[in-house]
Subunit: 258 residues, 2 copies
Amino acid sequence: MKKPLILVTNDDGITAPGLRALISYMKEIGDVVVVAPDSPQSGKGHAITIDNTLFSTKLNVNKKKDASLEYSCSGTPADCVKLALQELLDRKPDICVSGINHGSNSSINVIYSGTMSAAIEAGIEGIPAIGFSLCDYSWEANFDPAEKAIKTIVKKALKNGIPKGVVLNVNIPKASKEELKGIKVCRQARANWKEKFDKRTSPAGRDYYWLTGEFELLDKGEDTDEWALANNYISVVPTQFDLTAHHAIQGLNEWGFN
Amino acid sequence: MKKPLILVTNDDGITAPGLRALISYMKEIGDVVVVAPDSPQSGKGHAITIDNTLFSTKLNVNKKKDASLEYSCSGTPADCVKLALQELLDRKPDICVSGINHGSNSSINVIYSGTMSAAIEAGIEGIPAIGFSLCDYSWEANFDPAEKAIKTIVKKALKNGIPKGVVLNVNIPKASKEELKGIKVCRQARANWKEKFDKRTSPAGRDYYWLTGEFELLDKGEDTDEWALANNYISVVPTQFDLTAHHAIQGLNEWGFN
């Protein structure tokens, strides 16, 4: 049987330890091609580069360990997927995996996430896609406890397919192998960020801000990704890019626009 | 009665004609505060600035015509809304309007849209929000045929409220006042972009790409925004930021993860 072709990308950049871990896991499942940003792209959401040029370099960051085909790209995660599919790959990948992100993309974070936008971009192009994130922002984070679950999810997605219009958002709690309780299919918890702008003054006397904030969970449901993660489960949220609030159409029709 | 406070933003930048048109329409409805990017931010999706500083300048681009409070911001559209709500406004706005974008944000374009991300950001913060886009990329586009409809939609939203978790994505066809047929509540059409990368070589001999593409409509429904626009209707799509594909949860539970 022909090995599946796996496109691997991320938003933390091509040298990120989370990407290197994902590459090593995927090499046990299929043929791997990496197209990842040449610099960190966290929080880039679904940005694409329309007013600037894109550079791409064929390279191998870690030749011995991951002897796979690798390209860096000067654009966003969504750019990487577009460039991979249209220019760099010689056939359509069987699956696209993005991550492993250094930090959570659960709940409302999915909106800001470059990791998930790469997966969503692949989904828009009709390719089964999964974003993986570990709830640990450290560059020294330990991805190994989730290795087995990540491989299980990818293998099952390759076998079952992922429904059309859906990509999977997988978040992994910061927990040891012993603490991990399993995988739970969830919905996105309702939450937002309570922003705090850290206002400072530049040496030249001009005020500026750093965006900071605190995550505010507004959802007490036990069927959410936040609940799962807080209870040491790996969360899998089926995520869609039809943003229509179908339930709101009828009510809006009663506004009597015309 | 106290006039409503209207936060106006966009993604084409604070000097864009579409923004100036929206400001002038909104000044007839309420008190206007503008917080808009200091440079074009098209295609920035829901990017936020977490690895750079944000500058904001109080200014008045067009003092005579729009004597409203205005701020430029060095960040993305989503940054503008966050900064407005947390730092620049002294009370919560009654509504946030974003646009008028120079170009369509219908169908899958909503995913890449800075205009809509600003509206969605306000929606996440619990503020009724609407993104407006005209299907005309020209800087000399004529926004006036839609003036009446834009005011109607904003007034109705102020009166009725917008359902929690929903923001409105309004797209306006390029049409004369006589050609415009009215307003239609729609769902997001299924579509994608068929990318074409324009590959060139720099003077220094390095290959680079420009992202270009063609819009590919994959949906024959007559209840979609694309159908409405093609038939000279203004489309209103209720848009949500709970991305959960609820219909896919049951099927995924049958994968037997654990």
